[in-house]
């Protein structure tokens, strides 16, 4: 049994310790907002937070998450989820939507660390997340908007 905390709840799972965190989250815990895109940390669709840091869950063995806090899109705190989701809706960012959980999880870490990111900061933080539909321009706008919302500025 491997014990970990997922979205604030204590969980224990009985899987091979090498099993990627992605599949534990999706299949053992039923949290399917985190997506499988590449399986080799190339696309960012599987991005979750491990003790607050963005990690690619497709290459993170569950043993590495033992005893630690995992946050998925379903459990992203309201202080970040609120502004980001509001901004994503305001800019109508998603198309197919498959990559967007990962995009938001990467953007959340960016905004937490850097409340007023520049375009260059957005490039640096978001270049690991592929969007095949090409919603990048809207993601960029939405991150800037979320930063303003979070700062209490106008929408």
């Amino acid at each position: 049994m491997i014990k970990l905390k997922v979205n604030g709840k204590d969980r224990s799972v009985d899987v091979d310790p090498e099993t990627p965190l992605l599949w534990v989250v999706r299949e053992s815990l039923g949290l399917t907002g985190t997506k499988f895109g590449c399986g080799m940390a190339q696309c960012g669709a599987c991005t979750v937070h491990l003790d607050g840091e963005a990690v690619r869950s497709c290459v993170t063995p569950i043993s590495r998450a033992e005893g630690r806090q995992v946050t998925t899109i379903e459990g992203l705190g309201a202080d970040l989820a609120g502004p980001l989701q509001q901004a994503w809706i305001s800019e109508d960012v998603p198309q197919c939507g498959y990559c967007q959980s990962g995009q938001i999880m990467s953007a959340a870490v960016l905004l937490r660390e850097n409340p007023k990111p520049t375009d260059k900061d957005v490039d640096d933080a978001m270049t690991g997340n592929i969007c095949r539909c090409g919603t990048y321009q809207r993601i960029r706008c939405a991150i800037h908007l979320a930063a303003r919302i979070k700062a209490g500025g106008k929408k």
């Binding site: 080799m40 198309q95 197919c96 969007c131 960029r140």
Partner: protein
């Protein structure tokens, strides 16, 4: 609404599922009765196959098209809601079950493709909304004992203004359910549209930002197993033998099975299934494609280009014109196989029982997939319930004529007697074929003393993915596959002497429609050659095109709009170059102006793309803009990176590290301008793609003086000559 008939209450009751309320209407096609009856309940009003109104005021639009990012759920719902005068905050979209009632109005089967979802429903679904509205008006008028003509509708209510009375649609559910459907419906005048033509937030956005959206890969059924399949590494290869011991030793692996397309490992979850698949020892017979190689295939294509080919267009005397030309271009182009590479790898869930089968799949091809599932399950199509989930991208890859990714799941569920989800890894998806065909073009084109085109001899060597399919009769005419020559055969420029020929290059590699189909390669050649002719003639490439588009005012207008907005004529910033392209496809015309520079490393940096589009009447302008942004990213990805290659019969590329996608730091600023007041409705999902690569290549030419003849763009082709 000529195709709607009444079903008597008794007929409906005979169908067996009417729970309580009223009359159900169906279209004449068989199968709908069952569906409408199933949708009916005491608390809903179901005026037709496309609308369901609940006592809770929720208006559900049943959308016959798949949502794969293009915004179909929202645009289609907007059409219904506008005619219905629904309260948009109460409108929901739901994917249609498989039923002839939902067949494509043009293609005759239930499917999504060809950038048709909006225009093909423009009449049918507005009529569905208008019919429902008329029935609600009649119900209210009857309740109030007034003339229906004295009633109006607004924002989800029927209003009798003379008396100030008002009833919401939810309150009319019961009475409207007892009414006959109108024989004729009146549609709104465009000036009365409240939603259509106004940017409207997508219905699917909230769930796509909180993890709730359900894609095929997210479906879970009690008792479900997960399968990963080992398929032949060479297309057309056959399984010779395999050893399952290693796979069976992986904890969690339940079955190792041979299926027609390979060997499947069925396990408790994806991870043991994948470990089991990796542990299989398999011997394949590669078959005839075992020696397929990109380089030697290129030589074969070059040889094919020298043969006569099937002539798709011939006007004037092209050989004589070229003979007399003042100056000539003799160009050879080679464009590679391309993978769709949707973010969601292929997958399908099937649950086969003795006398039923359920399938959950993100598909663009419901009718075919359901028939295939029925065939594999040994059932009739109407015993198969296929649920269309959201698609994590489609781009054509999820409309497969042989339904292979559905068949595998059904075969496995049937064999193991449990629900099975087949998941393709990224590598399986990348190497699984059904690519945009490789396209090898040769063009000889000339100009006369005045600089006008003098002869255009265009040969296209390209595989047909239509030949040998049920679609062949519709698409292959006089020996020419339209999907191979579209965009080249209808070259819009005034050229007196032109020949366009197609050379079928059967390769055995499975190929398919890929966002914009034939236009994805033909536009590159037509739009770079015309640009080259302009430069050869010493003319501005925009003015040169305009001078040859006399018969195409729509194309002219779009070209003018894009170039005007891009500041054409004013020199770009130091170190930057501008290029333009314009192309008509899928009923729409799009022009892009790309502004680019070269990095220190000699790679293209795209700063901005200015786009103009004429797609006729627009339902959701923001969706049109989104599709242009998307098409530009998609087109740039192909131009800069896209290439599937073969060595010893095997696909070399595996994942996003060697089949890269455009990323955030490479995305240019995109500006979209929509031609207003246009009449002819066209598509928007695909037509933005074709003009991207030629606009980029034409811009790079202004910086390097070199013409790009092969894609993706290679650094060595950008070194100044």
């Amino acid at each position: 609404m000529s195709d709607i008939i009444n079903l008597s209450r008794r007929d409906v009751l005979k169908a067996g599922a009417l729970a309580g309320g009223g009359l159900v209407l169906g279209v004449t096609l068989p199968g709908f009765v069952r569906n409408a009856a199933a949708m009916q309940s005491a608390s809903t009003f179901v005026p037709n196959a496309f609308v369901r109104i609940g006592m809770d005021e929720i208006v559900t639009v049943i959308v016959p098209h798949s949502e794969m990012g293009q915004g179909a759920y929202t645009s289609v719902a907007m059409m219904v809601a506008d005619e219905l005068d629904a309260d948009w905050t109460k409108v929901r979209a739901e994917s249609a079950p498989v039923d002839p009632a939902y067949n494509h109005t043009v293609f005759g089967i239930q499917m999504t493709g060809g950038s048709t979802s909006t225009w093909s429903e423009w009449k049918r679904l507005r009529e569905a909304g208008a019919a429902a509205r008329q029935m609600l008006v009649s119900a209210a008028a009857e309740t109030w004992k007034v003339e229906p003509a004295a009633c109006s509708t607004e924002n989800g209510s029927v209003v009798h203004s003379a008396s100030g009375r008002r009833l919401t649609y939810g309150k009319l559910v019961e009475s409207a359910s007892k009414l006959m459907p109108p024989k004729e419906v009146a549609l709104k005048e465009a000036r009365n549209f409240k939603l259509i033509g106004k940017s409207t937030k997508r219905l699917d956005t909230p769930d796509k930002t909180n993890g709730k959206a359900v894609f095929g890969i997210d479906v879970s059924v009690p008792g479900m197993k997960v399968a990963v399949v080992a398929r032949s590494p060479v297309f057309g290869g056959k399984l010779k033998s395999f050893t399952a011991d290693g796979a069976k030793a992986v904890p969690g692996v339940r079955h190792v099975l041979q299926i027609p397309r390979g060997v499947a490992v069925v396990a408790d979850g994806f991870w043991p299934a994948k470990l089991g698949r990796d542990a299989l020892e398999i011997e394949w017979d590669d078959g005839p494609l075992g020696s397929l190689d990109t380089r030697t295939q290129g030589e074969q294509y070059a040889a094919l280009a020298r043969e006569a080919g099937a002539v798709g267009r011939k006007e004037g005397d092209v050989d004589a014109a070229l003979e007399k030309a003042m100056s000539k271009i003799d160009a050879v182009y080679d464009l590679p196989y391309l993978a769709h590479a949707a973010m969601e790898p292929l997958n399908c869930v099937a649950d086969v029982r003795e006398d039923s089968c359920e399938v959950w799949v993100g598909t663009q091809f419901q009718t075919g997939d359901r028939a295939a599932a029925a065939q594999e399950a040994g059932l009739k199509p109407d015993q198969v319930k296929l649920h269309t989930t959201l698609l994590g991208g489609g781009f054509g890859r999820r409309a497969v004529i042989d339904s292979h990714f559905v068949r595998e799941a059904v075969q496995l569920s049937k064999a193991v007697k449990a629900p099975v989800k087949v998941i393709w890894t990224r590598e399986d998806d990348m190497r699984g074929g059904f690519y945009r065909p490789r396209a090898y073009h040769t063009v000889k084109a000339g100009i006369d003393a005045a600089g006008k085109p003098a002869g255009w001899d265009h040969h296209i060597v390209c595989q047909s993915f239509m030949a040998g399919t049920p679609f062949e009769a519709f698409v292959v005419k006089d020996g020419v596959d339209e999907t191979a020559v579209e965009g080249a055969r209808d070259n819009p420029y005034e050229i007196a002497d032109i020949r366009v020929a197609w050379h079928h290059a059967p390769s055995g590699v499975p190929t398919l429609w890929w966002r914009s189909v034939g236009h994805s390669h033909t536009a590159f050649i037509v739009e770079t050659i015309i640009d080259e002719l302009a430069h050869t003639a010493g003319k501005d490439p925009r003015d040169y095109r305009l001078g040859l588009l006399g018969k195409h005012p729509r194309i002219k207008k779009v070209l003018e709009l894009a170039t005007e907005k891009a500041g054409w004529g004013k020199p770009p910033a130091e170190g930057r170059g501008r290029g333009v392209a314009v192309h008509e496809s899928f009923g729409s015309v799009i022009s892009h102006v790309a502004e680019v520079s070269l990095t220190k490393e000699g790679r293209p940096k795209i700063h901005k793309v200015t786009c103009a589009i004429d797609c006729g009447p627009v339902v959701n302008p923001d969706t049109v803009r989104a599709q242009m942004e998307s098409a530009i990213a998609f087109g740039l990805t192909a131009a800069l990176y896209g290439e599937i290659t073969f060595e010893k019969g095997r696909v070399r590329e595996r994942n996003f590290h060697d089949y890269p996608m455009l990323r955030m730091n490479e995305m240019p600023e995109v500006e979209v301008h929509i031609v207003p007041d246009s009449e002819k409705m066209g598509g928007v999902g695909e037509p933005g793609v074709p003009p991207v690569a030629p606009a980029l290549a034409n811009a790079l030419f202004t910086l390097t003086g070199k013409r790009i003849r092969r894609l993706p763009i290679r650094s060595e082709d950008l070194r100044k000559g």
